[in-house]
């Protein structure tokens, strides 16, 4: 119920007095109300729930995670820990 997914804002406009946007979710475009993110702009990634953008995705924080993971993987490589990679995923959805 509380699921929300990140989409990239491709257009902002107004409808019935409310700030709205079109967001691109990997090629699928949906509209969302942007009233709760007055600072949002085209190009930002927003997390959207029930037709409302509730946060601007903090790309700097996401980048920090990616960097930590890259370091974890390179250390594991050095330590000779076999990584399963795409061929044998340790985790995969059951459908």
């Amino acid at each position: 119920m509380c699921l929300a997914i990140p989409g990239r804002v491709v257009e902002v406009y107004e409808e019935a007095g409310l700030p709205m946007g079109r967001l691109d979710y990997g090629g699928v475009i949906h509209q969302a109300c942007l009233a709760y993110l007055p600072e949002i702009k085209v190009g930002d990634y927003a997390i959207v729930h029930a037709g409302f953008a509730i946060s601007i995705l903090n790309e700097e924080e996401a980048q920090k995670s990616f960097e930590i993971w890259a370091e974890m993987i390179s250390k594991a490589d050095e330590a000779g820990i076999p990584l399963t990679g795409e061929s044998q995923p340790a985790i995969e959805p059951s459908e």
Binding site: M1, C2, L3, A4, I5, P6, R8, A16, G17, L18, Y25, G26, A32, C33, A35, Y36, L37, P38, Y45, I47, H49, A50, G51, F52, I54, S55, L57, N58, E59, E61, A62, K64, S65, F66, W69, M72, I73, A76, I81, L83, T84, G85, E86, Q88, P89, A90, I91, E92, P93, S94, E95
Partner: protein
């Protein structure tokens, strides 16, 4: 999809699992609060991947599941009235009331419509001035800003044919009920990332301190959940009990303040019944007096409703982490997602439904 696939990387998952194994020395019980997290844990088999010493308990964070039977029965009664367009999130349609569900109302000719955004319901009211549009406003704090804006927008457009059945629930009071119980088993929480996106996490700090329980605000992808478990285990092993934020790409300590302001303008904190648990003080939202005109429960006279809950169901114990779904004698037999008997089987995000779907029948 960007900022989604990266959080499912199998190599990083494996390395997190190694870190969790290295960190844990004793048995611990951690509860994930949100039904979306429960669903992901079952979908990706995370329970089976983590060390046996860590038990994941599944919390009450499925608003569809905990919506009280009385509200469902009221919704069904209102939806069946002539002249009404009943709008709801799709998840609510299959939830069984005492006698039937909203799908049955639709099959009997009621005008029940699924909306993705509550603003769609407002649009329906604007487009159908001769009909009454009633929206079933359920959800946790994540959904409250959307449902509040629908009322605000109906008022701004001067619509007199829009109203809501408001059955909102709040997370922190439910955590306190779980922790205050003499039967509590929860030693650490993974808090709900999108609830905290809206509300921030400062309101969890007194709870972590009062009950000496670590609370890690956690996202919904496999790597989020594994990192959340790792952070909670490290706190437990080190004897710390802090509020930590794993879901930093979305959650700030203060949350989304314009959204909180709109919730406060339209709704006020009220006592609320939780299906399977009972009444929890200050655990729900209802309309502010200034917006009382948008209350469907007073606009439509619904006869006193007598609810009937199956006796065999143990969903209350499951919701509080005392029992697991397969402990129930009805699980997978009389109670399935097609014919659910209680709260935790009614929605895909309920613990019983997630077990049934991904673990299959008990052996």
């Amino acid at each position: 999809m960007k900022y989604l696939e990266e959080f499912r990387d199998p190599d990083v998952a494996r390395l997190y699992l190694e870190q969790i194994e290295a960190a844990v020395t004793r048995p611990w019980k951690i509860m994930e609060v949100c039904g979306g997290q429960t669903h992901a844990i079952m979908q990706y088999g995370i329970q089976e991947l983590i060390p046996d010493m860590i038990t994941l308990l599944h919390g009450p964070g499925c608003p569809v599941c905990v919506t009280p039977l009385e509200q469902i029965d009221k919704a069904i009664a209102i939806a069946g009235q002539p002249g009404v367009i009943f709008a709801s999130f799709g998840d609510m349609l299959r939830v069984p009331g005492s006698e039937k569900d909203l799908f049955a109302v639709k099959a009997e000719g009621g005008d029940v419509r699924v909306v993705y955004s509550p603003l769609d319901a407002v649009r329906l009211a604007a487009d159908n001035p001769d009909r009454e549009v009633v929206f079933f406003a359920i959800g946790f704090e994540t959904t409250a800003p959307a449902n509040a804006m629908a009322v605000k927008q109906a008022a701004a457009l001067g619509l007199t044919n829009f109203s809501e059945i408001v059955s909102h629930v709040l997370v922190p009071p439910a955590l306190e009920v779980i922790l205050a119980s003499p039967e509590n088993q929860v030693q650490g929480f993974l808090a709900a990332g999108h609830v905290c996106t809206v509300m921030g996490y400062h309101e969890y700090e007194p709870i972590a301190a009062r009950y000496s329980v670590p609370i890690v605000v956690t996202g919904f992808e496999p790597l989020d959940i594994l990192e959340g478990i790792l952070l909670a285990i490290r706190q437990l092993e080190e004897g710390r009990h802090e509020v930590e934020n794993q879901y930093r790409r979305s959650v700030r300590r203060t949350g989304n303040e314009p959204a909180q302001a709109m919730i406060g303008e339209v709704y006020r904190v009220v006592p609320r019944q939780w299906r399977g648990i009972g009444e929890i003080p200050d655990s729900g939202l209802g309309l502010q007096p200034a917006y009382a005109a948008y209350d469907a429960e007073t606009r439509f006279k619904v006869d006193t409703i007598r609810t009937r809950e199956p006796e065999v169901c143990i969903s209350g114990e499951v919701l509080q982490g005392w029992k697991k779904p397969p402990d129930c004698p009805a699980f997978g037999g009389d109670c399935t997602p097609e014919t659910p008997l209680g709260a935790t089987m009614v929605s895909a995000e309920g613990a019983c439904a997630a077990y049934y779907r991904y673990q299959g029948m008990p052996t």
